[in-house]
Symmetry: none
Subunit: 215 residues, 4 copies
């Protein structure tokens, strides 16, 4: 739950005795955490600034010193979530993986990430409740790269002969990303009507393998 928002100060030796600066950054991070939680649970319109502030343990007004308004706050949350998500999916060390393994690994890591993170890839994909189109556009930069990453893995597989030669790489990448997003969201939502049992995950992984591998 306590994500890494501090970045540059992460290794600051003075972190132990937080100065003004540090405390401020800590509060900013707490706000972002709370916002992620609230937006994730209630959507953009449903979440209230007051609740976020309370959840973060800061005053109502402080929020507005870090973020111009609710919309901007949401944009930042969105950007961070996508960044974290992409990070979590990307293979740590790519060397030893075959394309098929890479594909499977991304899928599983994505689902795992969402399982443990109060997140909203739901929102990422196309939540109608957040019509903040401009915001989404801003974070869309992350979506396309993700798709390109998957596409490059697919292309590598095709080139190596491991995947089908007639694979429509762009479309397949799109579909795989879609599935990743879906099942990731389900991992987070944990809705009994949309369960995410191991069996379902294995089936999805097998779907993907079947669809791409050469025969």
């Amino acid at each position: 739950m306590n994500l890494d928002h501090s970045e540059s100060t992460a290794e600051d030796p003075q972190a132990a005795l937080p100065g003004r600066q540090d405390q401020s950054q800590q509060r900013r991070a707490r706000i972002l955490d709370a916002a992620r939680e609230c937006f994730g649970q209630d959507g953009y319109a449903g979440a209230t600034v007051a609740r976020i502030a309370q959840e973060a343990g800061v005053s109502n007004g402080l929020l507005y010193q870090f973020f111009r308004n609710k919309e901007r706050l949401f944009a930042v949350v969105l950007k961070d979530v996508v960044r974290d998500w992409v990070r979590a999916m990307v293979p740590r060390s790519r060397e030893s993986e075959t394309p098929a393994q890479a594909l499977e690994g991304m899928f599983r890591r994505s689902v795992d990430f969402c399982r443990s993170t109060p997140l909203l890839p739901a929102l990422l994909s196309r939540d109608p409740a957040l019509q903040l189109q401009r915001i989404q556009m801003a974070s869309a930069d992350r979506i396309e790269p993700h798709r390109r990453l998957v596409a490059s893995i697919l292309q590598a597989g095709v080139t190596s002969g491991e995947f089908r030669g007639d694979l429509d790489v762009r479309s397949a990448a799109d579909l795989i990303c879609q599935l990743q997003s879906d099942y990731s969201r389900r991992a987070y939502a944990d809705d009994p009507r949309f369960p995410l049992t191991p069996a379902i995950i294995e089936t999805a992984v097998r779907f993907i393998h079947d669809a791409v591998r050469a025969r």
Copy 2:
């Protein structure tokens, strides 16, 4: 956009000169249309009753003579949308279809339905912005049947030897329904970042075929 809400009066030759009853039902239908549109665009919390009324060309208050409140209106919209969606997906005449054809047909019909209908299967699946759990539960009755229908087609294919014998029917049905829902929503949303080209559809169809057919 102008859906069939009239049903019983559809063949009434006097429909042209609407009586009071008729006009009333027409207005009700207009409200439902507008609500479908607005909820679809803005989510539950984001949509306003005033906007829906305006869009429907009726007064603010009339809405409350047909529906107890916003929540009930939404519930009705949801129920209707799912009903229409399921109707559109179900094969007209099932006789001559192989299981594979049935599967493909449902997929295509679902996508087509959403392309031409202001709809919200998005909302059906799990929009975090509409926490109206009870409502969702009510319309959830439709989700499981859909999954069962797909599962029965899969089972038929497995039995006939057309599909893989080791197919996890439940999980596969879940995944296929998920894909249908996704691409259907994309068909409606028409978001450039999530396009729905023929190539993408064909790829999805092929994915499904590859995943289930015996080898």
Copy 3:
């Protein structure tokens, strides 16, 4: 509950087969009954026209053919209630009563009237919830006569020597009327915090006797 609103038609031999006229008057009466009930229970602002119409078994709109608006309807109800109340209090045959008996009789009849009638002398006296001052003024014509009636009885008692010679007739009449109004309202309201047991009534009667009789 079914009060006499018809007056002139009460003995109409055609009452059995109600003509247009009769039915109309009957409906008017039903509306007044319902209004008396509703205003009595919920006060002026709290009562709704729709409820009154429903209670009366007529359409919403019909109400407005008999009464210009809610305020006028209320005014008529008020006038009728006061009229009935005063009627009920006035001794049937005055001859054989001493002033003391007359006083006591009025008090008891008033309380009894309210016990069996959905009424609102509450509203009569000075309910702050119905600020319709002008209306109250209109029905005030009835209040003063009542006070004068009591005063005349008191005066008769003073003259005959049965009552104290130094009685302030006007003030005493005022107080007695006040008590009548109070206990009448309590008879109707039937609030456990303001009970109206026989003991309480007897005490009130005795109060009045003690206060006025010569010693």
Copy 4:
């Protein structure tokens, strides 16, 4: 009109330069004053939150930071009014009073209190327009004690032989409280049809004396 809501700050020498806390409490008090006024004039249903806010010179929303909703605000007003009323009635120093004097004193103080205070013992007793039963119940705790106080005075008088031995103490207390409430309300309402001249008050006082004293 400007009641004492400040209590603890009453002796604060800095009250002249109000701090934030002080100003806040002052506004709360202003809201309560305005609410007392408006509810008193228009009843519960008739009074509007907007009017109260305007009368208090604060924004519409501030009201909701002090009181959960209109109903709660009313409950507080009611509680305060009863508290003030009871306070005003209770004899300052009881020592030297005979029971008869105590009775008379309470009556006069009650009337005087209402004359100078925007108040609604009317509402206390049984205004049909405020069906907020639960609220009334809450403040009813004050009614019964008042009745008991009067009853104890009566009992003392009976015991000392100053009052009639056959007095029904409970019923008499009820009646006296009723009269106090009535004339107090009249003192506030100041309705020309229900005047409250000195003569009327003296008559009431005499009524009470006559009714209770031994002969």
